[in-house]
């Protein structure tokens, strides 16, 4: 019960936030929600099913490019392009997963396989002139005042509520999944594949389901990215940096937990802003100092809170998972 009240309070805080936040804070919140959403999507694959993907930008990039290309070239509204983008990303996830899982590519090797696919696709997209290549794909910006959810054109506030809804949706979906058969199967696969198999779980199919679902959700995030920023570049869409951004929030927040990705995003993005502000306030303006401090903070977090912030925090505030039957771990 306490948990539910806390969640509702948090949600209403996010819903009401734009009232208090100026455009700057709003733009930070958009990034927070975007990272929380992507983290949740990645968490399905790694946190639940235990498959380490370090090339998750692949799916976001594919979703973004497909939907954006449909919009730019044929004026297909985002709502109709989205399923196509998701379908392509899911198919890519299926290929990566099928190859990796069928041929027993495990652990770090699987992680490298995901990087290889993402990087391969990055260079490939740099050589597709019809999608702009390295020159980038620019979406016509259009009106920024109205609210057009069909085409995803409109005011930043619309984008904020959209990404908030997506983050909440992903949270609820994951919560539901964890209470389902497939959720339990993922946990079993994550913990011990051999034992999972001995309990009748088709490990291959469970892992593939995780990759495909995660890829599809990530693709939707990519579509948001494309229509929010209105530019797509292979390096930004498929690059290693994007993949690292995706995985930081859930790991810092607490891998495999439902609240971890949200908390991680709530910590990391404002942390970056705070460091920028702090270094500037102290009069240090040297470029690179912010990222240096960011790296140090990250190091400190993994060193001292290796399970993530949320598992540590929930013990402190007494939200132990054992109190709640629905919650996974």
């Amino acid at each position: 019960m306490r948990r539910r009240i806390a969640l509702l309070a948090l949600l209403s805080a996010f819903v009401l936030a734009p009232l208090a936040a100026g455009p700057y804070l709003l733009s930070v919140l958009v990034v927070v929600m975007y990272m929380a959403y992507l983290g949740q999507a990645w968490n399905i694959m790694m946190g639940f099913a235990g498959q380490l993907s370090l090339g998750h930008s692949l799916y976001g990039g594919l979703g973004a490019y497909v939907t954006a290309a449909l919009f730019v070239n044929w004026g297909v509204p985002a709502v109709l392009g989205l399923p196509a983008g998701i379908a392509v990303a899911v198919a890519a996830g299926a290929v990566v997963g099928a190859l990796g899982f069928r041929f027993g590519v495990k652990g770090v090797y699987f992680a490298l396989l995901t990087i290889a696919f993402a990087e391969f696709t990055r260079v490939l997209f740099e050589h597709i002139p019809s999608l702009g290549g390295t020159g980038g794909l620019f979406l016509p910006v259009g009106s920024r005042d109205g609210v057009d959810l069909l085409r995803l054109r409109g005011h930043p506030l619309m984008f904020y509520y959209l990404i908030l809804a997506m983050a909440v949706g992903a949270f609820l979906l994951c919560r539901r999944l964890l209470a389902c058969r497939i959720g339990y199967q993922w946990l079993a696969v994550r913990e011990d594949q051999e034992a999972a198999q001995a309990l009748g779980i088709n490990v291959f199919r469970a892992k593939l389901a995780a990759v495909m679902l995660s890829a599809g959700l990530t693709a939707a995030g990519g579509v948001f990215f494309a229509f929010y920023y209105n530019t797509l570049f292979p390096t930004q869409a498929f690059g290693m940096g994007r993949s690292i951004d995706i995985i930081l929030a859930p790991i810092v927040g607490g891998l495999g937990t439902l609240f971890g990705p949200i908390l991680g995003a709530l910590i990391l993005t404002p942390l970056g802003e705070l460091i920028t502000w702090g270094t500037e306030a102290l009069g240090f303006k040297a470029a690179g100092l912010k990222q240096l401090c960011y790296g140090l903070s990250l190091l400190a977090i993994v060193k001292f809170l290796p399970d993530g912030v949320w598992p540590w925090l929930r013990r402190r505030i007494g939200f132990d998972p054992a109190d709640d039957e629905e919650e996974g771990t």
Binding site: Q197, A198, G200, I201, N202
Partner: protein, 246 residues
């Protein structure tokens, strides 16, 4: 041939590991409702036989049938769904989730309804005396409890045939007796068929209807427990091992 087809038929099983013949022509049958013990010295190939039945290893030759249906080429999960539950000699608990959830996962083999799975899981945990630990993460259990959990998970899949790989090892005699009683009850009340690998002779004698002895991958003899322990060939294979160790 007698009329009722056996629940498990193992015939002329052969398995090589890098030229080493680990299992060489093992055959036995298990009828529905039987409790059969598979014994033999260390390295005799017992676990390899289990792994072949459970689908973890594919035999190089021979036949494995469950209720007349070949298990050849099936993956472990398919074998499980065909009605074979197993435990691992080296226990494999799902360490980071609760004991109850471990068992729920087993029960989800036959139901998609988590609430129903949870009900069965609690029953099984009650049966095995783990009820008070059901909320603990599985990694915090002691070894005997982990063995129990291993059994609980396998039982939750509602198997027709249960393969137990040294679940009594490391248990105190009183715990062994309790475990034996549980298996006897399951066998009596629900007709559960059990094949067990066991070194604890106290359990073998009390539990099994029949004993199959193998050594160096080859079948040695087969019979009732009392008759097998008196068989000089059995003694020899155990003593031989002792002699080799010195």
């Amino acid at each position: 041939m007698t009329a009722p087809s056996p629940l498990l038929l193992v015939e002329n099983l052969v398995k090589n590991f890098r030229g080493l013949r680990a299992v060489d022509g093992v055959s036995f049958q298990v009828n529905a409702g039987d409790i059969v013990a598979l014994i033999g010295p260390n390295g005799a190939g017992k676990t390899t036989v289990f792994n072949m039945i459970a689908g973890s290893l594919q035999p190089d030759a021979g036949r494995i049938e469950l209720a007349g249906r070949s298990l050849a080429g099936l993956r472990p999960d398919q074998v499980c769904r065909a009605g074979v539950g197993r435990t691992f000699q080296l226990v494999k608990p799902f360490g980071n989730i609760s004991v109850e959830e471990n068992v729920v996962i087993g029960a989800l083999r036959w139901t998609g309804d988590v609430a129903e799975a949870r009900r069965l899981a609690r029953e099984v945990l009650d049966l095995l005396g783990l009820a008070d630990k059901r909320r603990l993460p599985a990694r915090s259990l002691t070894l005997p409890d982990r063995k129990c959990l291993e059994v609980a998970r396998a039982l939750a899949t509602r198997p027709k045939l249960l393969l137990l790989d040294e679940v009594m090892a490391g248990l105190r005699p009183a715990e062994t007796d309790r475990m034996v009683a549980i298996f006897q009850r399951l066998n009596r009340d629900s007709g559960l068929t059990i094949v067990l690998i066991e070194h604890v002779m106290r359990a073998v004698m009390a539990l099994s209807h029949r004993v199959v002895v193998i050594n160096s991958g080859k079948p040695v003899c087969e019979g009732g427990p009392a008759e097998v322990v008196r068989d000089p060939r059995v003694l020899e294979c155990y003593l031989g091992e002792e002699a080799a160790r010195c």
